[in-house]
């Protein structure tokens, strides 16, 4: 079968520095102009029938890409199955909601606090949970996601089932305002965050933590024998993933101005995980593609409005059966080795 990822990687390796820089700049420019694609006749097929195209671009598309990249560090890079990723998103969102309405802090000041709290939650959950293997980790993280939602539902400080209302929008930066309908601004903010995450993951991948994660993913016992400190690197992977989820939560709460516990159900975790696996676990570009498709598709096919989730499930099922390694799987080299090992 055609492997676009390997082809792409080969072309990239043969380019010199100038070619690479130009390519990246062109891609960034194209993506930055995406919010206006709906207005040009040539690209107007992108328009979504019910919600405005710009709004869809921010949530779910850009938000899903960001979170899927975060979850990819945990699931794809280090092979830890996390079914409760929504918990970190919720923690970020509630940090923004509570601090934003109670204190005078603005979104950019709360962002680091939200990230720190999400990381802390990742550490608290990770310390006991990451000693467990495979499916036990999955069920404990799943439980954690539900616990966070139930706590938010039952505490008075979080507004119970009514949630937090009247969360302030972010203050303008460089003259760009962030109202409820200024979707382009939010898109650019999240796009910058996505670029930062991509840069960070690329740096990690070629350095010590990336190699440690790769070793843990392939075989924990061998990694431990080779002197990889399992718990430390798993905790790193877990809390970096949590931090990205928290950051996404802060921006989300600040954009929609209202959060309630039923926005943070298990379904969100499943959707994000589906983005990662569907796109190609462990391969960032695949994950981005997967998240774009899975976030965009249900919005685009809304004309069959009531049964769109049904169609979505069917599409997911068919594609997993045709391409089980995802749309853009990780490097082939590795897969051949896996087959030999079997």
């Amino acid at each position: 079968m055609l492997n676009i990822r390997d082809k792409g990687a080969a072309i990239w390796e043969n380019w010199n520095r100038t070619k690479r820089v130009t390519f990246v700049l062109i891609v960034i420019t194209i993506v930055a102009f995406l919010p206006y694609a709906g207005t040009f006749p040539a690209t107007s097929f992108l328009n979504t029938p019910i919600t405005s195209y710009q709004a869809v671009l921010v949530y779910p598309i850009a938000m899903f890409v960001l979170m899927a990249l975060g979850l990819n560090i945990v699931v794809g890079k280090s092979g830890l199955l996390d079914l409760g990723y929504v918990a970190f998103f919720a923690i970020g969102a509630y940090t923004m909601g509570i601090l934003g309405t109670m204190t005078g802090l603005n979104t950019w000041e709360i962002l680091p606090i939200g990230i720190a709290l999400a990381m802390l939650a990742g550490l608290i959950l990770g310390l006991p949970a990451l000693r467990l293997r495979g499916d036990y980790l999955a069920i404990v993280t799943l439980g954690f996601g539900e616990i966070v939602r139930i706590i938010a539902l039952n505490l008075t400080q979080t507004g119970g089932p009514n949630g937090v209302v009247g969360i302030p929008n972010p203050p303008p930066i460089f003259g760009e305002k962030f109202g409820l309908d200024d979707h382009a601004g939010y898109f650019w903010v999240i796009f910058v965050m996505i670029l930062l995450v991509i840069w960070m993951v690329r740096r990690f991948t070629i350095r010590r933590p990336g190699r440690a994660w790769e070793a843990i993913r392939q075989d924990e016992d061998v990694a431990a024998l080779m002197g990889v400190n399992l718990l430390v690197y798993k905790l790193w992977s877990f809390s970096i993933g949590a931090a990205i989820g928290g950051a996404a939560g802060v921006i989300y709460a600040s954009k929609v101005m209202f959060i309630a516990p039923d926005m943070f159900t298990f379904n969100v975790s499943v959707l994000i995980l589906a983005c990662v696996v569907f796109g190609g676990m462990g391969n960032m570009w695949g994950v981005i593609l997967g998240a774009c498709i899975l976030a965009y598709l249900p919005e685009r096919i809304r004309f069959i409005s009531n049964s769109r989730q049904l169609v979505f499930g069917l599409v997911l099922l068919v594609i997993m059966n045709i391409r089980p390694d995802g749309l853009l799987p990780r490097k082939k080299r590795e897969k051949i080795k896996q087959k030999e090992a079997k």
Partner: protein, 317 residues
């Protein structure tokens, strides 16, 4: 915090907990059997439960359609209706289990892909099932006809032996012990155990792998369907989203007892049911799932393979 219930309702809570526990036991068999054979979480099982509750309602309505009153039934007619609904729900769920295996697992297994791919395809199946049910019922709860007049056999130490409680405990134990005997004594059960020990070697021994795996899904579906019937009989209402919480609790029960281990699922389910009842009586019912998960984390920390250990020694990713 309301600790006074501990003295006043202790036995009552225990009895209700055991009855709830039996529902969990039967559902968790659907997880634990599949896990034992494939080492994969059968994610779609929660929606199989949901389908089972609807199958029960359909069966009951089909029998009662000529009855204009909704009075409870009596005598032979009652037994006949209950047994028919139980068998119908079990069979539907069993066949659904086989179907889930066919569309979500078989091809991926043949390709030898990673475990997460089949997890996602199972999730996709559960999305399809629950969405189909949601669209069909217009998200509205469906009420089951009231078959059983809930009279009581009497009280012992404050525990009220209602007829549905007794029925769940008796029928649940019969189903569980029949299954236990089947897996441990019969030839097919031996094949299931062999596959769970080693796929490769059981293939060499002439076991038809696909058939054994289908059979495992079928049996898991049967018990899940029975649980769905008991659930509908007790609560008399169902909705397209009942599967999620039931499935989650049952999976927790399976992990508590040591996933892949039949008897572990039994003790895990009962333990979880009783624990849930006490937690909701003492802390309030909104905190019961939090308590359950805290207990789960503690158990896994102290004894990672579950209270009763796994059937096969180590779980590998």
């Amino acid at each position: 915090m309301n600790f006074s219930v501990l003295s006043s309702q202790f036995w009552s809570l225990c009895l209700q907990g055991v009855a709830l526990g039996f529902i969990y036991v039967l559902i968790s068999l659907g997880y634990t059997m599949v896990y034992g054979v494939l080492r994969l979480i059968n994610f779609a099982n929660s929606e199989v439960v949901m389908m089972g509750t609807f199958a029960t309602v359909v069966a009951e309505v089909a029998i009662l359609k000529n009855v204009s009153t909704s009075d409870p039934l009596h005598g032979f007619r009652l037994v006949y209706t209950l047994v028919f609904a139980l068998v119908f729900s079990s069979l539907i769920c069993g066949l659904l289990g086989v179907l889930v295996e066919l569309v979500a697992y078989r091809r991926l297994r043949a390709l030898g892909t990673n475990r997460l791919a089949s997890l996602i395809s199972a999730i996709a199946v559960s999305i399809v099932l629950s969405e189909a049910a949601r669209i069909y019922t217009h998200s509205a709860p469906v009420t089951a006809p009231r078959l059983l007049e809930k009279w009581s056999f009497g009280e012992i130490g404050g525990a009220n032996f209602r007829v549905d409680t007794v029925m769940i405990i008796l029928a649940g134990s019969i189903i569980f012990f029949a299954l236990d005997r089947f897996v441990n004594r019969s030839r097919l059960g031996k094949a299931i155990r062999a596959v769970s020990m080693s796929e490769e070697n059981s293939k060499l021994m002439g076991i038809n792998l696909n058939r054994v795996i289908s059979l495992t899904f079928f049996i898991g579906g049967l018990t899940t369907g029975a649980a769905a019937f008991f659930y509908t009989t007790v609560y008399e209402t169902t909705q397209f989203n009942v599967g999620f919480n039931l499935g989650l609790a049952a999976f927790t029960a399976a992990v508590l007892g040591g996933i892949g281990n039949l008897r572990g699922a039994f003790y895990g389910g009962i333990f979880l049911g009783v624990l849930e009842q006490f937690a909701s009586a003492i802390l309030g019912s909104q905190w019961k799932s939090v308590t359950v998960f805290l207990v789960l984390v503690l158990v896994l920390l102290i004894k990672p393979s579950g209270i009763f250990g796994e059937a096969v020694q180590q779980t590998r990713t």
